[in-house]
Symmetry: C2
Subunit: 310 residues, 2 copies
Amino acid sequence: MARVFGFKGCRKIRGSQIRNLLETKDVFLFDCDGVIWDGEHAITGAPKVVNSLIRHGKNVFFVTNNSTKPRENYVHKFYRLGFTDVMQEQIFSSSYCSALYLKDVAKVNGHVFAIGCEGLLKELRDAGVALTDEMDSPEDTIAKCALTPGVKAVIVGHDDTFTFLKLAKASCYLKDPNCLFLATDSDPWHPLRDGRILPGSGSLAAALEVASGRKATVIGKPSRFMFECISSQFRGVDPAQCLMVGDRLETDMLFGANCGLDTMLTLTGVSQMKEAQDYKDSQHSTNQSFVPDYVVDTIADFLPAFEDMD
Amino acid sequence: MARVFGFKGCRKIRGSQIRNLLETKDVFLFDCDGVIWDGEHAITGAPKVVNSLIRHGKNVFFVTNNSTKPRENYVHKFYRLGFTDVMQEQIFSSSYCSALYLKDVAKVNGHVFAIGCEGLLKELRDAGVALTDEMDSPEDTIAKCALTPGVKAVIVGHDDTFTFLKLAKASCYLKDPNCLFLATDSDPWHPLRDGRILPGSGSLAAALEVASGRKATVIGKPSRFMFECISSQFRGVDPAQCLMVGDRLETDMLFGANCGLDTMLTLTGVSQMKEAQDYKDSQHSTNQSFVPDYVVDTIADFLPAFEDMD
């Protein structure tokens, strides 16, 4: 099938097509939620796929916008769900990459106000970032609460203890134009069981963008920064040799497009084939960045390829 | 000074110019915060201006996006600060107008989930709107909390007890495309003393828009709806006879432009002359809607006109 330059294929592949693709790629980047697991359940066959790729000498990385857990918890989760060959160095979470950004790129020297879960706070502390430590009481209001002087950055990630006071304090810190404004990611929401919705970091960041009149620098996908973190730690990673596998067109596929990687949509998560096809058929050329090169029902479709390769 | 058609004047007026304007207008719409008062302090001279307009037979209305207080509290505040001639019928708050919208326009028949202060909740209850009454405990999470079935509308206003759980519940209700999504107003933030920032309803609405993937219908300024509420209750209000006086270009001046009213910026609040001039000088024709027709330092500049008029 001829590939038209500038337009992604959105091509459903199987069998020998998958084997050929696996043979041409050296580096596999996987999103986690909806790709290799769904909450506390591994996607059927996914552990065997990941372990097989590693044993066949492929470089495998995990790029997740989920900022709720520190990487060491991810290592335990990988092991618990049967991904027995994954090591901490392969895991690039938006929390970890945010810490890298603050230390190595922004070289922040001073206090950081963080809105987020323990996963974000621990990665920041582990990287040596100094967090503000005002002790707010439930009676505190923004008109009369403690504010740390000279805060150098505000970072917002997923936070299920988000409150109006946190939003207001962050808005006050961001009045200083020298105070950096970061978001771990811009994910709008996440699906829960029973059709419920979990608002994402992108939702909290939007509130803060409006209240502060500023735009956040986004660390996670679709920003290129996570790929830059991988490239700086693993020399010789060539975009042409990479395949980005994800379940969300607006984050994973766009991330791949932004980094010059071939992309694969797996249909075990948020986005479905019709949405990909709609983007492909769209008249807006910018929508082409959301279109995957390849589509599989599940990464378990990789399994027969290994039988051939063995 | 010749007035170029299609372009607002941004004209600083004083003395006899103000007297002439007051004589040609029958209806005066005032924003409150930053125009007639600043927190618990009346703008110097403002009570005398408002009382004089009323005594000279002018129709005076107050259009405020502040949704935190029910109208009866506003009556007390007006009286307390010296605006002794103001009655409840003259006050159009975003809370009151939201209740009118739900009852008279949307004709909502079922439960409404409200994110807001007591001012909003009371106006809704007074209008006969049925509010959800789930009792959340601090341990509740969105994965396992009570959700009222068949919620017909979600409304978001200023709420200093805003939490992640409220945001998440609202996002779940809005999955039903038949569930209306309203915002009392889209104000991004409000100034506090000491340079602190109070995030506005627009900030909370933005979070919910991202988490739900939907756009809120905005009740307050700059939407036309508040003016429609006035017109429906006071027949014969002619836009050509109205002057809208406010302190914020992006809400008050745009509201006036949207409703076909002449507009006046007073410099006792958020927006300053330079911002108005920048909009006027902008190449984007849409920015002309933010430009006031007239500018005064304070509405106390009206006072000499009454001396002439007496």
